[in-house]
């Protein structure tokens, strides 16, 4: 049965990301155009096989860590690697368990309201959001592939040894191990020959896929935040025309026709009446006064189907447009609030786990960094781990911070437009919106912490502190 599912809203924007996640082996089974029983079974098998490979190899690495835990340096290095890839396992399991929440968040923006006068602005910011999301995706994919290449390259430098503790003499011995990117326990001998090549290729696959699994989920989270931020930008941009529209309902203002001008590329029957433009041409001296008078002062006599109560001579259609503009703004803002709370519910716990594992990893890395004694493989790998882990934390902190800033700057946009000229309805609208926007929208990690650059600064500060203290203690 071939059913073409028409993708809309966030799903169509994030389609490349979703397809990549499906390719990497996440348990993402929606959003396919072909939903027959055979292909969905094949997809389930594909994901399960990937999951089994990843988990089994991870367990082999953990066994290796447990087996050679006598020597402190060896244990620390193995623990860091195991924790590093714990992210992938956690994210894979998290998505499999809470995929309903992800589908719900992706479906939040399926039906959005629209207003003829603001379609152009909406489309423009939507396009901006799309561009940014694509760019982020390409950047993160590039960084992942670059990291894998660096990892594989660095395998060929330095000694491929394992450190052991001699129990009698308390000395550190070295034992040769296969020259592979990751140290893991294998049931077969991987020192040389075909098994070595097999292990090497498998490890490259494993590195690429486990890093992709973790990073792609983070990219999806950040893409949602980008979308929310651009929608807030759209609302900020239309605040000024909104105020002018509402002012035109009961205050005389020149150039009213400009407000109702819709972009010529959009099909719309709400074109401004030609009589407005004639009057504007005749009575252009009104602009020179620079005064907007309420009520009868300076009112133009208009005839025909114009609304006599309206100082600007708006037609019925135009008046309706002006009145419904505020409703459009408020409903769109509530929609964004719903989207952000859905994002927080979906991804908060994953962020908590991420920060927990990253904190322990960074503490151990600070200890490892004190033992760097020159420009060698050890130094490069420590710096590589450090920058990758800090980079992951920075990735979602910067977008969380942007959301906080955008949502609290809506109030500034409201203040900087001419709210005093607006109608009574517009003024109470501004009041209520300002009350709501005083508390910025933020993403919290399961209520333990808020995702912002403050969090990143505190993590970075803690790492530097540990490093300084440990260097002193040496």
């Amino acid at each position: 049965m071939m059913t073409k599912i028409k993708t809309q809203g966030l799903v169509s924007d994030l389609m490349p990301n979703i397809k990549l996640m499906q390719l990497a082996g996440h348990f993402l089974f929606n959003y396919h155009s072909d939903n027959s029983g055979m292909s969905s079974l094949l997809r389930k098998i594909y994901s399960s096989v990937h999951a089994i490979f990843i988990v089994v190899h991870y367990v082999c690495m953990a066994v290796n860590m447990a087996k050679y835990s006598d020597e402190v340096n060896e244990l620390t290095a193995n623990t860091i690697t195991v924790l590093f890839f714990a992210h992938s396992i956690i994210k894979l399991a998290f998505f499999a368990i809470t995929s309903k929440n992800f589908y719900r968040t992706l479906a939040v923006w399926n039906q959005s309201n629209s207003h003829p006068l603001f379609i152009e602005s909406d489309a423009r910011y939507h396009q901006l959001a799309l561009t940014k999301m694509r760019r982020l995706l390409y950047f993160i994919c590039g960084m992942t592939i670059f990291s894998v290449i660096c990892w594989v390259t660095i395998t060929f430098f330095g000694d491929s040894v394992r450190l052991l503790m001699d129990k009698e003499t308390n000395e550190t011995l070295t034992e040769p191990v296969p020259r592979l990117p990751l140290k893991a326990w294998y049931p077969f001998d991987a020192m040389s020959g075909t098994m070595y090549v097999v292990a090497f290729v498998f490890q490259i696959y494993w590195l690429l896929f486990s890093m992709a699994i973790a990073n792609l989920m983070d990219v999806m989270f950040c893409s949602w935040l980008i979308f929310a931020c651009e929608q807030l930008q759209h609302l900020k941009a239309i605040m000024k025309p909104l105020m002018e529209l509402s002012a035109s309902l009961d205050t005389y203002r020149p150039n009213t026709a400009d407000l109702f001008k819709v972009s010529s590329s959009e099909k719309s029957e709400k074109i401004p009446d030609p009589i407005d433009m004639d009057i504007r041409g005749i009575y252009s001296t009104q602009q020179d006064f620079g005064m907007t008078l309420r009520g009868a002062g300076g009112r133009l006599q208009t005839f025909g189907q114009q609304n006599l109560n309206n100082p600007n001579g708006l037609s019925q259609k135009q008046e309706m447009l002006a009145r419904s503009a505020i409703k459009y703004w408020v409903e769109r803002h509530k929609h964004i609030v719903r989207l952000v709370s859905s994002i927080g519910d979906t991804y908060g716990t994953a962020l908590l786990f991420h920060m927990l594992v990253s904190t322990i990893t960074l503490t151990l890395l600070a200890y490892q960094a004190t033992k760097v004694d020159g420009l060698n493989v050890y130094a490069f790998s420590t710096v590589g781990y450090l920058s990758y882990t800090l980079g992951q934390v920075f990735h979602f902190c910067i977008f969380g911070n942007r959301l906080i800033e955008e949502s609290s700057s809506v109030m500034e946009a409201a203040y900087s437009c001419q709210w005093y000229d607006g109608s009574e309805e517009a003024k109470t609208f501004v009041q209520i919106v300002c009350q709501q926007c005083q508390k910025a929208m933020s993403i919290s990690g399961a209520k333990f912490f808020t995702v912002s650059l403050d969090l990143f600064a505190s993590v970075l500060g803690a790492v530097v502190t540990y490093f300084m203290v440990l260097v002193q203690l040496k």
């Binding site: 409703k327 409903e331 109470t428 009041q431 009350q435 209520k447 333990f448």
Partner: protein, 369 residues
């Protein structure tokens, strides 16, 4: 707490029983203090008595508060039967039932854990004695406990007091946590009411014929009064229990560190290890309960403004919208229950206590190597 139902003689007997219990626990605490002073140079024996001693200090602090503020606590509990807290809508009733179930589960599990820990301690002492080894009680007794009769009596006394303190501690904690949970539930009901306020008002106005604006204002005022009552209850709870929770937090980190110090010196497969682990779990749960429910209350009260905003206020009358602005202004500050008005009950505090207790423990191990 007072015995309110039943006859006057029963109330007097209960009052006498309460005083007796307080006296017994205070005597036990003094005995432990004497023992601790005697053994102050021996770290292993000191740690064995310290964690229980600290636990008893917090329990006595709570008991004293419950004695002196018994009236206010009783009023607070009675006030939960108010009609404003027992809305009749389906959503409210289902939430209240869920809260009640959760509270019962919490009490059962928590008190059960405490009793289990005490029984395991008893078992351990008995087995130790049966194996022929001499048993030293972690409190000053003033006479030798080697004779079987004396041993059994002292053992029973020790078991009775520790179990009593354990149950008292856990039930008092569960009570305070449940009141915080109830406040959170009430705020959730309130938020739900705010979100659908204009629609409900329209239905009522169509049904009764009153003006839409009057019904809107009536519902708004009702919601605001509900909010004020919840704030008052939370504030009353904070007033009554602020100092005890502060003592709990202050001593909690210390207890954890002492218990952990004792734990690492035990064999993993012994009964004592299991009972110590259970004890540490109890203490952690105690701290976590306050912090978790306090945090939930703060988060819930933070969301009220959002709920008021998400109602359909765009087409409502002018006077109502002005009132909505004021309502959002008044409900903007989140409720932050605090221990002793200084330390907020939040998950952040919980993490800070864990971190400082680990620091104490690490320092202790370093200095006693």
């Amino acid at each position: 707490m007072r015995w309110r139902s039943g006859s006057a003689p029963a109330a007097r007997v209960h009052a006498g029983y309460r005083v007796a219990v307080l006296a017994v626990t205070s005597i036990y605490l003094l005995q432990e203090c004497v023992y601790a002073y005697q053994e102050r140079h021996d770290m292993t024996k000191l740690s064995r008595v310290m964690f229980l001693l600290l636990c008893h200090i917090t329990s006595i602090a709570k008991q004293i508060v419950f004695h002196t503020d018994a009236d206010r606590i009783h009023d607070m509990i009675q006030s939960l039967n108010d009609p404003i807290y027992n809305a009749s809508s389906a959503y409210a009733q289902s939430l209240l039932q869920r809260t009640a179930r959760g509270a019962r589960l919490l009490l059962g599990a928590y008190a059960g854990c405490a009793v289990l820990t005490c029984m395991l301690w008893l078992l351990f002492l008995v087995m130790h004695r049966i194996a022929g080894r001499s048993v030293e009680f972690p409190f000053w007794t003033g006479f030798h406990t080697d004779r079987p009769i004396v041993f059994v009596l002292v053992l029973l006394y020790s078991f009775y007091v520790t179990t009593l303190v354990g149950i008292a501690n856990t039930t008092m904690d569960a009570l305070m946590a449940t009141i915080l949970y109830q406040c959170q539930t009430q705020l959730r009901i309130l938020r739900n009411d705010f979100q659908s306020l204009p629609e409900e008002a329209k239905k009522v106005s169509d049904r009764t014929g009153e003006s839409y604006e009057a019904v809107l204002m009536y519902f708004l005022v009702k919601g605001f009064n509900h909010y004020k009552r919840v704030t008052e209850t939370a504030k009353l709870l904070q007033d009554i229990t602020g100092v005890t929770i502060l003592v709990q937090f202050g001593i909690g980190g210390w207890i954890l560190c002492m218990a952990a110090y004792k734990l690492v010196s035990l064999n993993i497969l012994s009964i004592e290890f299991t009972s110590m682990t259970l004890f540490i779990l109890c203490i952690l749960t105690e701290l976590f309960l306050y912090c978790y429910y306090g945090n939930e209350l703060t988060v819930e009260s933070d969301r009220i403004v959002g709920s008021v905003y998400s109602m359909q206020w765009v087409r409502t009358p002018h006077r109502f919208r002005r009132a909505v602005v004021l309502l959002m202004q008044f409900t903007r500050r989140p409720l932050r229950p605090a221990a002793g008005r200084v330390i907020p009950l939040s998950l952040d505090t919980f993490l800070k206590i864990l971190k400082s207790s680990y620091t104490f423990y690490a320092v202790l191990r370093q200095t006693n190597k």
